[in-house]
């Protein structure tokens, strides 16, 4: 939910439309948008992933590739520090290998780079972008995990009346959203 919507939710109630059918949900989203509810004031909650194109929603921007590359760089630099930076403090001559040789160091460089990608991908996808964990109350309905599609929106007055008509026209169930602790 957008920050703007969160602020509005504190002043005015947020509504939730629940659908059993994807096509009905998609048509209702389109209808809600046509009567003047902005995409930023809507949120679709589902039990399975749907692409934005399927739902007719704007593209979700994400920083994941950049976060992953950053993680890779941090991992690689950490490896360089371990492998080359500490040689001065702890010189170990083993098997006749020179201190600053490359081939046996490649393995650690590779593993720590991968570790950087792994950790940054998890933190990026779950903590930074989503962002989780977040147990505070939010508009939600347990029937969503049973396969229903929820469209959460904010509307008032005439707009709300029109919105409810559209939801009912497409076999949806409109109600004031319950803010449930998660």
């Amino acid at each position: 939910m957008s920050k703007e919507m969160k602020t509005m939710a504190e002043k005015e109630p947020v509504y939730m439309a629940l659908f059993d059918d994807l096509d009905c949900a998609v048509r209702a989203i389109e209808g809600l948008h046509e009567i003047g509810i902005k995409h930023e004031d809507m949120e679709v909650i589902t039990a399975v992933p749907f692409e934005e194109e399927v739902l007719g929603r704007p593209h979700v921007r994400e920083l994941m590739p950049r976060i992953t590359v950053t993680g890779a760089i941090i991992g690689f630099i950490t490896a360089l520090l371990f492998l080359f930076g500490t040689v001065y403090d702890y010189p170990i001559r083993v098997g006749g290998h020179p201190y600053f040789t490359i081939p046996p160091k490649i393995v650690i460089m590779y593993e720590l780079t991968m570790l950087g990608i792994i950790i940054s991908t998890f933190l990026g996808a779950v903590v930074w972008e989503s962002p989780l964990p977040s147990y505070s109350p939010k508009p939600y309905d347990p029937s969503i995990s049973d396969g229903r599609i929820a469209v959460v929106f904010k509307a008032a007055g005439d707009l709300l009346q029109k919105a409810i008509e559209i939801v009912e026209q497409f076999e949806g169930e409109a109600k004031e959203a319950t803010w449930r602790p998660l």
Binding site: V94, T121, S130, S145
Partner: protein
Amino acid sequence: MKSNHKMSMEEWEDVVLARGEEELRTELLLVDPRPRREMNRMLLEAVQRITPGYVIAIAVLALLSFVGLFVAWGFQIRWGMGVAGIRRPVYWGFYIANFVFWIGISHAGTFVSAILRVFHAEYRRPITRGSEMMTTFALVVAGMYPLIHLGRTWRFFWMLPYPNQRFLWPNFHSPLMWDMTAIFTYLTGSTLYLYMPLLPDFAMGRDHATGWRQKLYRILALGWRGTEKEWKHLMTGMTIFAFVIIPVMFSVHTIVSWDFAMTMKVGWHSSIFGPYFVVGAILSGVSAAMGLLIVARKSLKLDYFIRTEHLESLAVLVLIFSLAWTYFFFNDYLVEWYGGEKIGHELIFLQAKGPMAPYWYAMLVCNIIIPVALLWNKKLRRSSVVLVFVALMVNVGMYLERVIIVTGFLQRNRMPFDWGTYRPSIIEVAIAVGSFATFFLLYFLATRIVPYVPVWEVHEGQLSHKIVRYGKAAVTAKTHIEAI
């Protein structure tokens, strides 16, 4: 009264097609959809299925784990490594063989989940979770063995790179250090790769479970709701993970093989050891996953989700990797045989005609003859009993392979005065039994906590599949909704 009604050609075709559709639905999970509510219920019932047999199994496994890891390992810590059977020249014994075996087992989860995801193999959907759990717990058990093998376990932190007053620093040129780094990377990656797709399933559990499970699922779901943003980032994260975890998986067992291959030891110093170990690991891992899935299906009553089609697909993979392992084994064997080096011939003699011969031939029977003889036949590879037998035999074979490579090859060195024999002590055997029990204990406990099937992935797959009529046949068709 006999009906005089004769079916028209069109009606007859409809009947045939309807029968074809019914057969497809019986066979294939993704064209046999059920309401999501019902699938959720089946899954939550499964995790709550605590039978007397399950309780007894858990109690026995807990007892064996206690004896192996507390009593036997504690005895070794108290009295030192002298209680183990490792003696000159066999310094790497049962512990290292077990370590290599468990690392191998851990390969299946990633293979089944990540590689099949990358290639959009649809049959992966209900079986990824069980395989990923196997990877994580196998790595936990594998990770214990270097600590057990250390002897002075309490000094394990000497391996960690941090400034200290001992003037000791880990040698980053050592394959053992590479190994520790690779295992840490793989364990971290596998655990997070298991956890990420669990978020929607934990949220489902939070919404519908009761009691302590509901509280646990609530914490583990992290507040997941299933918004567009959450799904988008989860799917992107999982795609990145799938591509990253595959090379990490290959690197881990390659590096394990380098523990051996980087030495100048005859029999170990081989450039083919990396891929040979990786293929062996996938063979043992996939067959173990197959066996565990059959047991879990029976125990959790998940016949709807895990079907013969999934087990048959894994059986085909086992057959392919059995043949691949044969190829690498023969490469390694023939080069040694042809080389004409005296000590190499001694090693071959030790295996083919010497004291290791029963194990060596048993390994060949288990890894080649049994899977190839049974799995080429479609009827046999659709039988759960046959598949459990093959899974068991392949893992016996791979275990023997690890024991032969580690403890067998060390018995013959270039200088005959340094030859010897090895027999594991009762302590080593008890620790090995304890580690097996620990793995099964963790796995079976997890099956009653973690939703065993990623239900949202199954649901997603069912949305993208349907039965269509193609000419006179009913066939399945897939909509590539993931690729839009």
